[in-house]
């Protein structure tokens, strides 16, 4: 029983004894060389990590072997570098050779070798951090910057070129957490710009050989940047103020010109508008008033007035040479007469027509419309037959304008009356002519072809003279002339040659319709100069009847012929003139279709170029 207990106790003791002692006696664990470093490429140190202890005091030994030889050396210095380290001094350090290093842990029970490590000192260089790092603040035109300078670690021999170091700086503000790293290369000084005014900066430097490891960061240097005024800010403030000022000015300008600008950018859209149209009426629903407003009084356009305005034309009649001078003398006088007569006329072409010597004072007589209208009533229907648009209005203004005896008019009322009477006569003549005309009238100016009306003792020339007196509407003139042609043709109704005979005209002679005889012949007489205005009309020293209108040529040329008037049939007012045979000659080419046979005198006609009688070709009337 006791023996069993003893055996059991012994057994237990044997079992638990090793546990009580911990790991117990075992060979040491395997140490490991964790790193070797050389600070300056002249010495180096290796550190190892011991393995498990094994329960027994363990000693370590480091053995190395150089590449070139097989000799194994032991670590010369175990203490300089601290525990578990081996320091190799200059004499023991060779560069460019591989060291094969092994650490051995030994205890009472055994020894354990670590894994060998090959190192080359050149590649394990880790320098010390740079020393004496100084940071100063330098001024650069009110923009300060940091100048960081340092020195290499005192052990590293950079001077001889044994070791070449490159540096790195990092900077950060005190409050921030991110560093700003700058690479400084091999230089030992560095500038840091773009500082914040009044901030505190932290600066650190480290270095590395061209082959090796980075050193540790140097100790932190603190620097405070003084407060400085940001010049850039002031510039920006100036710019802002300036631009605000300009903006204000622009706004003010815009406001001032807002209206015109609005017109420029957004032009008002013209709405539909009808003259005389009142929207309100439409809204109110009174259509009658509405549409009555639409009716324009002068629509359809009564062309008489307009045409009369347009037709600024006067006729020139060939007069005998004797009278020509007189005519010319009286020109100005006539103008004066005419002008007075024309005072009531329209400012438009009427004046021109009035001013013309030879023009019938139709315009002048415009004020006396009512008188004419009475006549017109008689001839209204007939007048309506008038082909020419002027006539259709019943106002044979153009006609009279053509026929108006210029020299007779004067400011004198008597003259006016006479002129009026003349005008009347003209009207009459005009109107009379028209209905009697058998042939169709020229519907349009310048189209007269047929109108071989009876011979009209009328000779007149459309004068192109005094264009300044005429209204500058040349086309109207032409129209007028054409109309004159037509009318002339219509006058001459007795004999209707195929074409009108162009009147024999003189450029400077003016003609006036003296009278209209019962046979609806218009007697023309040259404007007499020299005679008193009062007497001009009634006294015609030489009543000369001008050639009748033989007809209108196909080229719308009024063919006139001179005729001798034997008798004056006009009862009172008109003076009978003795028709004088006149010899006409044409100075230009004459295109005549026919020659009136009835007329004793056959005059050559001159055809105008544009349907009116060319005053260039004039007949020279023999003066009496």
């Amino acid at each position: 029983m006791k023996k069993v207990v003893e055996v059991f106790l012994l057994f237990l003791l044997l079992v638990f004894t090793p546990h009580a002692k911990g790991t117990g006696n075992s060979p040491p664990g395997k140490p490991t060389l964790n790193r070797c470093r050389s600070p300056e490429k002249e010495t180096f140190t290796c550190w190892w990590e011991p393995g498990s202890d094994g329960g027994l005091p363990t000693t370590f030994a480091l053995y190395y072997r150089k590449e070139t030889s097989e000799t194994v050396y032991e670590c010369p210095d175990y203490h300089t570098a601290g525990k578990n380290s081996c320091f190799f001094n200059k004499n023991d350090t060779s560069i460019w050779v591989n060291y094969n290093i092994t650490v051995v842990a030994t205890n009472a029970l055994g020894s354990t070798f670590s894994d060998p490590v090959d190192i080359d000192v050149v590649y394990i260089v880790k320098p010390n951090p740079p020393e004496r790092v100084t940071v100063i603040v330098l001024e650069d035109k009110s923009w300060p910057f940091l100048r960081v300078s340092w020195e290499p670690p005192h052990k590293a021999d950079t001077r001889s070129g044994w070791i070449t170091l490159v540096y790195q700086i990092r900077v950060k503000l005190e409050q921030e957490k991110d560093w700003e790293t700058h690479h400084a290369g091999q230089q030992k000084m560095f500038n840091v710009f773009s500082l914040r005014s009044g901030g505190t900066y932290l600066v650190q430097v480290r270095c590395k050989p061209d082959h090796g490891f980075w050193s540790e960061w140097s100790s932190t240097s603190y620097v405070k940047v003084p407060d400085y005024f940001h010049r850039e800010k002031s510039v920006w403030i100036l710019i802002m103020v300036f631009s605000a000022f300009i903006f204000l000015i622009l706004t003010w300008l815009l406001h001032m010109n807002s209206h015109s600008l609005k017109h420029c950018i957004l032009p008002p859209v013209p709405g539909p508008k009808i003259k005389g149209f009142d929207n309100q009426l439409l809204k109110n629903g009174k259509s009658e008033e509405l549409f009555s407003a639409l009716v324009v009084s002068d629509f359809p356009p009564t062309t008489s007035y307009n045409y009369e305005d347009l037709l600024v034309e006067y006729l020139e009649v060939n007069v005998p040479e004797e009278q020509e001078l007189m005519l010319e003398e009286n020109k100005d006088l006539h103008d004066g007469c005419l002008k007075s007569e024309c005072s009531t006329s329209d400012s438009d072409s009427g004046r021109g027509s009035c001013d013309s010597h030879t023009l019938l004072m139709d315009k002048c007589g415009e004020a006396k419309e009512e008188e004419r209208q009475t006549d017109q009533e008689r001839m209204g229907t007939e007048a309506e037959d008038m082909v020419s648009p002027d006539m259709s209005s019943g106002r044979v203004k153009t006609w009279p304008s053509v026929f108006s005896p210029l020299p007779q008019y004067s400011s004198n009322t008597l003259d006016e009356q006479s002129s009026l009477e003349m005008a009347k006569q003209h009207y009459l003549s005009d109107s009379q002519f028209l209905p009697s005309s058998t042939s169709s009238y020229l519907t349009q100016p310048g189209h007269g072809t047929k109108e071989a009306l009876g011979p009209s003792y009328w000779e007149f020339c459309l004068s192109n003279k005094q264009p300044h007196l005429l209204h500058p509407q040349t086309q109207a003139r032409q129209q007028l002339q054409a109309h004159s042609d037509v009318d002339i043709s219509s006058i001459g109704r007795k004999q209707a040659p195929a074409g009108l005979q162009s009147p024999l005209l003189r450029p400077t002679e003016y003609v006036e319709v003296q009278r209209v005889n019962e046979e609806d012949m218009v007697h023309l007489q040259p404007v007499v100069s020299g005679c008193g205005q009062n007497n001009c009309s009634p006294q015609m020293p030489q009543g000369e009847d001008y050639s009748k209108v033989k007809g209108v040529d196909s080229d719308n040329v009024l063919l006139l012929q001179r005729n001798m008037m034997e008798e004056d049939r006009c009862p009172c007012e008109h003076q009978e003139t003795n028709g004088v045979k006149e010899n006409c000659y044409t100075s230009s080419t004459v295109t005549t279709t026919q020659k009136p046979t009835a007329m004793p005198v056959q005059d050559e006609m001159v055809l105008g170029m544009n349907g009116y009688v060319d005053t260039a070709t004039m007949c020279i009337l023999p003066t009496y």
């Binding site: 460019w96 090959d118 021999d157 001077r159 070129g161």
Partner: protein, 231 residues
């Protein structure tokens, strides 16, 4: 890090390009008979500076090539064991001082000659390296270009050192002539891993030797400027 060094390399290349050209031009014009040719003469200090810069650049490029090659072709476990395959550096036999104290003891002449020896011994292996690199599948263009560039520049470096020796030591030297026969001429291409390891060894050894050249030249420069304080 890699990209940065590439950029730096590019900057170096741009900066040193004219220097390299100058180094390649024969600088000693006293031998020239023709009077028309304008030989640029360069001072000794400038020449030494340029040679040093040249060596620095070569070292940088070789370092990049080696790490590139190591990443691509060398299996990870073998990366730390540079001499595992047993290929020692070809320049092992050269009597190059291996510590600073030793270097301090040798003369200028010996420094220059050491550098020249190193340069001349590496010209051929680099040429050989190019041919073997072409055989690798998927070798990046950059790696091939770098090795090609290095081998070319090494020749320029040699010329510069020769001129330097002539200037400093007044000795005439012969530049190496390229010979077809090389140490590494193999009829049968070895297997892949072996080839890789050998090339890897070549690259790393060259990298080390490039660093040697650089250090030696720098020390020489220091001696020229400041005789007493240099190592």
């Amino acid at each position: 890090m890699h990209i940065m060094t590439v950029k730096q390399l590019g900057v170096w290349a741009i900066l040193l390009w004219p220097y390299l050209l100058t180094v390649s031009i024969p600088l000693d014009c006293r031998e020239e008979q023709s009077s028309l040719s304008r030989c640029p003469s360069i001072s000794q200090e400038k020449l030494l500076d340029r040679v040093i810069q040249h060596a620095e650049l070569i070292y940088r490029v070789s370092e990049e090539s080696c790490s590139l090659f190591e990443e691509m072709f060398v299996p990870f476990p073998l990366q730390l064991q540079r001499n595992q395959a047993g290929y020692a550096c070809i320049t092992k036999a050269l009597p190059i001082p291996s510590s600073k104290s030793e270097i301090q003891q040798i003369s200028d002449k010996w420094l220059l000659h050491s550098v020249l020896m190193l340069v001349q011994s590496w010209i051929e292996p680099l040429v050989y390296l190019q041919t073997t690199m072409d055989r690798y599948d998927g070798a990046p263009e950059m790696l091939l270009n770098k090795t090609k560039w290095v081998s070319e520049k090494l020749i320029s470096l040699e010329q510069g050192v020769v001129v330097l020796i002539k200037k400093m030591l007044d000795e005439g030297m012969m530049t190496t002539t390229y010979s077809e026969q090389g140490l590494f001429q193999y009829d049968v291409p070895p297997e892949m891993l072996e080839s890789v390891m050998r090339d890897y060894t070549i690259l790393s050894c060259f990298k080390k030797d490039a660093h040697k050249m650089e250090i030696l030249l720098k020390l020489l420069k220091c001696r020229q400027t400041d005789t007493y304080n240099c190592a």
